[in-house]
Symmetry: C2
Subunit: 247 residues, 2 copies
């Protein structure tokens, strides 16, 4: 039976981290909200029509038979062994999950660069605060998080340039997406991304060149970054590299 | 062998969610940083001295033998079955983990009420923005998250008033802590917390009255809320209930 992914249509958003895993593995899945009546099907779950174990707080969530899994990191922790995208050993699975949760925190911080005050209001209503938050994000937070992941890849005793062990994992796919998102949102600030975080950059390129991923990226299943997602390009928020911590 | 919890001393912070689980279960554990040389022991892990699988991004992390588990939700997912604080059935474990990740998101939002611009700067340098963010938090976000948890408890077919099944889980302990944190930080705004979220309030009281928890709360192992943690009481951020969504 095919997996069912429930996520808003029109943006890559948090759903993209799950799509990348399913696509890389060649798994059968339905991107439910992009089918007819998909939106109302998703809303039924969110409104609790399918019972309390099947009432997630928010998308994305994954349906596998009668199991509903919510939150990106939970979904990837669940799918990892099934899609062969994480080592089977418990110690590695736990480590991978910790890395993915660190990525989740970073994604929330990336989102809050354009919504530092209220997620229920427009960006235009919190533009000055967004500038201040973005400045701190580019100066301190990107170097802290990306520097960490670069050290993790460097410290991996298995050769190959992956985050975990000697093969591709869902963490690598997520790091690819985060790197692409940063480059889309802040092209000026990320000018020296590759020299600042060479191992993350090399991993990003390795992921992009994988046959399944590459075919997906060229397909119409892949949604482009745009002004409604997590990573948004507002030129007025972007900065010269010299003012950031990515030099 | 005793579990080792690594977390900053001096605040309940994110470490408290783990402490509550260990204390309720009567598990043997060492709150490492509160012992002599504990801080340098923690820093060794963060600096990667124990190998890359044992290099968390940030505290809290748990050591169990040669396994290091980082992030609160990951730790509780790991400890849950061992401490008998989650049903063994996979479907329930996944659901519990999803709820805990929702709590993690809420905790980050609670933190950002006093640090909406930069976590590396002082509250005093972002006071106006903190007021605006807190207003949105109390108006929209607290009702959205706490209303969700209230509906989950209500929808639980097992009687008992718990979030998951018919017995206490780590999610209940975390909801207790979040409720206490909100009451500490925003005593005025939370005046109608109990009537707005009656099931969460009842659960909070049930947890507080459990013998192990109650003994812990009265002990010196319990750190009081203060002005350096997630939940901080700044009177100027608090609001009249009428201006919030908790009425």
């Amino acid at each position: 039976m095919a997996y069912e992914l429930y996520y808003w249509d029109g943006i890559p958003g948090r759903g993209e981290f799950v799509r990348l895993a399913l696509e890389e593995a060649g798994a059968k899945y339905l991107d439910v909200v992009r089918t007819s009546h998909g939106m109302s099907a998703m809303m039924e779950y969110l409104r609790g029509k399918h019972g309390y174990l099947c009432t997630p707080f928010a998308p994305p969530f994954l349906k596998d038979g009668d199991i509903i899994v919510s939150h990106v990191a939970n979904i990837l922790h669940y799918l990892g062994p099934k899609l062969n995208l994480v080592p089977k050993d418990e110690k590695y699975r736990i480590f991978a999950h910790g890395l993915q949760l660190t990525i989740a925190d970073f994604v929330m911080e990336a989102h809050d660069t354009h919504h530092p005050i209220s997620t229920d209001d427009y960006y235009e209503d919190q533009k000055d605060e967004a500038k201040a938050r973005t400045e701190a994000f580019l100066k301190n937070r990107v170097p802290k998080f990306m520097g960490y992941f670069d050290r993790i890849i460097e410290g991996n005793p298995a050769s190959g340039g992956y985050a975990i062990g000697g093969a591709l994992s869902y963490v690598d796919l997520s790091l690819f997406h985060v790197s692409e998102g940063l480059a889309y949102a802040f092209p000026r600030a990320m000018k020296n991304f590759d020299s600042s975080f060479p191992r993350v950059a090399r991993l990003r390129d390795m992921v992009r060149d994988r046959p399944n991923l590459n075919a997906y990226l060229k397909s119409d299943r892949r949604l482009a970054f745009n002004q409604s997602g997590i990573f948004r390009h507002y030129p007025e928020l972007d900065q010269d590299p010299g003012r950031t911590g990515i030099r």
